[in-house]
């Protein structure tokens, strides 16, 4: 990989109030929370720098809170994300790199209006149960949001929200013997582009996805320096550690170079092997998770096509096309009206009143869920 690691990479950059004197001052015996602010990074380095910290902490480096902000926009897949879910042609045409991270979560559009944070600590230091570990490692971020005036809360789905809107994306994972949880401060969010980079079967799902993103994902335009300072205080206090400015150690620096190569490779970008659809089954439904409990989906069965928005288990909007039949448009409208606003589990019963086209549409609905919905 040609991108050099500058000598100052990983050195602590000034973060206003990043190390409040009271943090750890009364507990000199406590361990260190290394704080690393990478500042602006290339899209690639905005991922590989903190992944390297994961390997470093696994090898014995101290618990670390790090920050970075991508210098240019890009698209990032979660570890298990399908590359085909990204509109790669659009991304190429608009100069958007596509990267894959080692931690979980969905496909996201990232740009310089977002400050990334990562908390990384030894796996043995977190509860073995995932939701407990996540709660433990996200609650300090909530504290930081509140400290800068954002009335955030960690909801039952472990998402950081203000009201019904998610204000912070997150992902988590275990890198060797370290656990990392990452998230972001979204100062401005380009909903349109976040919807546009996704590969979707048609404009109806894109329009519905954009509408739900606008409704359920919000930016919090607070001062990033104040937010980072609040984050340092909150994580140091929560973990009982003393915040100390730090930088990458030599092993981590070498790991960055290795990860640059890995993350730039086609094999890594392709992601884990996934089996072909079982023979004789419908084309898999395309589902887009906007936030927990909020989805759009496009599904078909025997010519019947469903495009729907599902919010907390209820059909919020729907577009139905029976296809291959002489089903009058008025019938489609009536079916759409009948299905809108009802629980997902009642859809088949309602569509049963619409004859053979209704049964095919019900099968298309069934093919899209309900597992992840």
């Amino acid at each position: 990989m040609a991108e050099p690691l500058s000598p100052e990479a990983g050195a602590l950059r000034p973060v206003a109030g990043a190390l409040p004197p009271e943090v750890g001052a009364l507990r000199p015996e406590v361990g260190a929370l290394r704080v690393v602010d990478f500042g602006l990074s290339s899209p690639l380095r905005s991922q590989t720098l903190w992944h390297a910290i994961g390997f470093g902490v696994s090898a014995g480096a101290p618990t670390t809170l790090s920050f970075t902000r991508p210098a240019a926009p890009y698209v990032c897949l979660g570890y298990h994300g399908a590359l085909d879910d990204v509109d790669q042609e659009y991304c190429r045409a608009h100069g958007l790199p596509v990267l894959r991270r080692m931690v979980g979560g969905g496909t996201v559009y990232l740009d310089a209006d977002q400050v990334f944070f990562q908390i990384c600590l030894p796996a043995q230091a977190v509860p073995p149960v995932r939701w407990r570990a996540l709660r433990m490692l996200l609650e300090p971020a909530v504290t930081a949001f509140r400290a800068v005036g954002v009335p955030a809360a960690l909801d039952d789905d472990l998402e950081i929200c203000v009201g019904h809107r998610k204000v912070c994306g997150h992902g988590a994972g275990q890198i060797e013997e370290a656990v990392v949880v990452c998230g972001n401060l979204i100062q401005r969010f380009d909903h349109e582009r976040a919807a546009r980079v996704l590969a979707l079967p048609g404009p109806a799902q894109r329009e519905q996805t954009l509408a739900l993103m606008r409704r359920f994902v919000a930016a919090t335009p607070v001062d990033p320096a104040a937010f980072q300072a609040a984050m340092v205080s909150a994580y140091a206090a929560a973990l009982g550690l003393r915040a100390v400015p730090g930088q990458l150690n030599p092993v981590e620096r070498r790991t960055v170079a290795d990860l640059d190569d890995k993350f730039s490779s086609e094999a890594w970008l392709a992601g884990p092997a996934r089996p072909l659809p079982a023979a004789g089954t419908d084309r898999p439904a395309r589902r887009v998770k906007v936030r927990a409990g909020v989805w759009t989906l496009a599904s078909e069965h025997d010519g019947a096509q469903v495009t729907a928005s599902v919010v907390r288990g209820t059909v919020d909007r729907v577009r139905l096309r029976a296809g291959g039949s002489d089903w009058p448009a008025r019938q489609a409208e009536l079916a759409e009206q009948a299905v809108t606003g009802i629980p997902w589990g009642s859809v088949a019963d309602v569509l049963a009143d619409f004859g053979e086209p209704g049964r095919r549409l019900a099968a298309a609905f069934a093919a899209a869920g309900p597992g992840a919905l």
């Binding site: 979660g78 979980g104 995932r130």
Partner: protein
């Protein structure tokens, strides 16, 4: 590791169904069951599933990968958290369960059957060796390497683990 004949032995232990026809790795909640000459299926027990949360994604290493006990044979994602699936045995991966990759919920609905994860080439000697490394083990809830084989020992470990998790509020009463 002798193959069992007839109906698999199941018991209800602390509110969970527990299959007693296989071996268990207590720390990782992985089970190992002979599935043919010198091969065994590997899956996760219901307590491991429960503490992972709702499974969103599973992925496995390619067939042919040589595993060593304690190394990852795949990744599990739940609650946006990706973590390794740790092999309880050493051996080559001979098969992966595509059905559970397509539908990770299978591992929740049928953890001992259709929700199996991989098959590995594993010998009795290999498993016995893994067991022998565990001779210094402590209490039955302990985090340690090695495989439990005795049904009474498995039941005691599982019951103690459930009680421990419930005491800590990790799982519901």
């Amino acid at each position: 590791m002798g193959a069992l004949m007839g109906q698999p032995a199941r018991a209800r232990v602390a509110g969970f169904e527990l299959a007693l026809d296989r071996r268990y790795q207590p720390e990782t909640h992985m089970w190992v069951l002979p599935s043919g000459p010198a091969r065994a299926r590997i899956g996760m027990d219901p307590l491991g599933i429960e503490t992972s949360g709702t499974l969103a994604q599973l992925s496995f290493v390619p067939i042919g990968t040589e595993l060593t006990a304690g190394s990852p044979f795949g990744q599990l994602e739940a609650a946006k958290f990706v973590g390794p699936l740790i092999s309880p045995v050493s051996g080559a991966v001979l098969a992966v369960n595509d059905a559970v990759v397509r539908d990770p919920g299978l591992a929740e609905r049928d953890p001992y059957g259709a929700g199996w994860m991989i098959e590995a080439g594993v010998t009795e000697a290999g498993v016995t060796q893994a067991r022998r490394t565990d001779d210094s083990r402590g209490d039955v809830t302990g985090a340690r390497a090695g495989l439990l084989a005795d049904p009474a020992e498995i039941s005691a470990w599982f019951a103690a683990k459930v009680a421990d998790y419930r005491l800590k509020g990790v799982i519901a009463q």
